[in-house]
């Protein structure tokens, strides 16, 4: 894999991580102590998936992967989080699941969007394309999550 591919992939992984696992500084006034780990790991209930036999022309072996990441919780205990991702041959993450039920949650959300009518919908704009000073709702990534993604990248490259 070329360095540039790897970099692009890492960026994608990181942004996907944010989508699913972003840990808001939202309101933690009473606050956790050491922010060493994560704020939003979750339980995977599905069975462990194994990478399927993939196409030969990609940099990665496409398929579903699962890894367990560990992180340190505020009271100093080591905890783990299971992460499942689906990786295409070019390294794109096409699906990601941390809580094992994300898929149904999404379809429910889409169903809601459909029902509510398109004229009332809020449309997002890219933050990078806005003239702004700050972002309200900025995110922390999960240490355990990134650990798991790192393991998956290693395995998918093999």
């Amino acid at each position: 894999m070329t360095p540039s591919t790897r970099r692009a992939y890492a960026t994608l992984a990181a942004s996907t991580a944010l989508v699913t696992l972003a840990a808001c500084g939202g309101d933690d006034g009473g606050g956790g102590a050491a922010p060493v780990g994560t704020s939003t790991p979750s339980m995977t209930t599905g069975p462990a998936a194994s990478p399927s036999a993939g196409s030969a022309d990609g940099e990665f072996t496409p398929g579903e992967y699962e890894a367990i990441g560990t992180y340190l919780s505020p009271d100093g205990q080591t905890q783990s989080v299971e992460v499942e991702v689906e990786i295409a041959a070019d390294g794109t993450i096409t699906d990601l699941d941390v809580d094992g039920r994300a898929e149904s949650g999404n379809s429910e959300q889409y169903q809601g969007k459909f029902e509510s009518g398109i004229d009332q919908l809020v449309v997002g704009r890219r933050i990078t394309e806005l003239q702004i000073d700050k972002v309200a709702g900025s995110s922390l990534t999960s240490g355990g999550f990134n650990d798991a993604i790192g393991q998956i990248i290693e395995r998918a490259r093999a």
Binding site: D28, A33, S138
Partner: protein, 276 residues
């Protein structure tokens, strides 16, 4: 703001922007201030002052108590009991505990009524064992306190709760709760004002579990996925950003925006725009 001081505290990332670097002495004072807050209020610390409320009926919570718990009195009243600092026990029950176990306990749990508690001076009296969680107010309140300690123009950003004392208006993106690369709108935050954000999909540890609980049902909220509030009072703005999940509470000094699960926005007095 040409100088930025970044650090981690109370479980989140902080950034303080100033024209000139904050000197060592003031940094120490700010760090001590935050430490004192954490030692008093963190429900994740066994040595925190609030931990005594798990066993004792009366606990002195120190000089910050009247201001912080006073905000909760108003939030509790205006949301008909949905917002309460006594949700800590229910959060632990659902798995959001000091060990980050994220394994929900079995069976229902009841949140004690905040109206059954009483503050005398700085001493809180509770009817039984409680787990206090000031997550809906504490960070915004603390950000305001820190901003007040800084002897030059500043922007205090506590990851989602921002206090603007820069001398000019800040344009702040309202981050899409579903995609942190996207914004659903932009708020104009004048000098002297704060903006606070709250999202239910963050700090989510299972498909339907997150940290914003309705104290009446001890269950996470579902209809609203994100809320923002702003105005001159950072603690109240922070509280409104949680209260907006339950009630329509904007006033003539503070604005609110909520985004529901169908991506419809409810906009109340926002100085700025929501993209539609």
């Amino acid at each position: 703001m040409t100088s930025a001081w970044r650090f981690e505290a109370i479980g989140t990332a902080w950034s303080i922007g100033t024209p000139d670097p904050i000197d060592h002495e003031l940094r120490s004072a700010i760090t001590s201030r935050i430490d004192r807050f954490d030692r008093t209020w963190s429900r994740f610390r066994a040595d925190a002052t609030v931990a005594a409320l798990r066993a004792e009926r009366s606990v002195d919570l120190g000089p910050d108590a009247p201001a912080i718990l006073g905000v909760y009195d108003r939030l509790f009243e205006f949301t008909d009991g949905a917002v309460s600092p006594l949700v800590g026990g229910a959060l632990e029950h659902l798995g959001y505990d000091a060990g980050y176990t994220f394994v929900p306990g079995r069976g229902p749990i009841r949140v004690p009524r905040w109206s059954d508690c009483r503050l005398t001076g700085t001493v809180l009296h509770v009817p039984g064992p409680v787990v206090l969680d000031i997550g809906a107010v504490g960070k915004g309140w603390l950000a305001g306190q820190i901003a007040g300690m800084i002897d030059q123009p500043c922007v205090v950003d506590a990851s989602g709760d921002i206090v603007n004392r820069s001398g000019r208006t800040l344009r702040v993106a309202l981050e899409d709760p579903g995609d942190p690369q996207m914004a659903i709108g932009v708020a104009e935050v004048p000098d002297g004002h704060a903006i606070c954000a709250s999202a239910g999909n963050r700090r989510r540890w299972a498909a339907d579990l997150h940290h914003i609980l309705d104290a009446r049902s001890a269950s996470p909220t579902r209809a609203i996925v994100g809320a923002w509030a702003g105005g001159p009072d950072p603690a109240w703005a922070d509280g409104l950003a949680t209260a907006a999940f339950f009630a329509d509470l904007a006033d003539d000094r503070h604005w609110t925006v909520t985004l529901d699960r169908d991506r419809r926005a409810r906009i109340r007095g926002l100085p700025g725009e929501v993209f539609s």
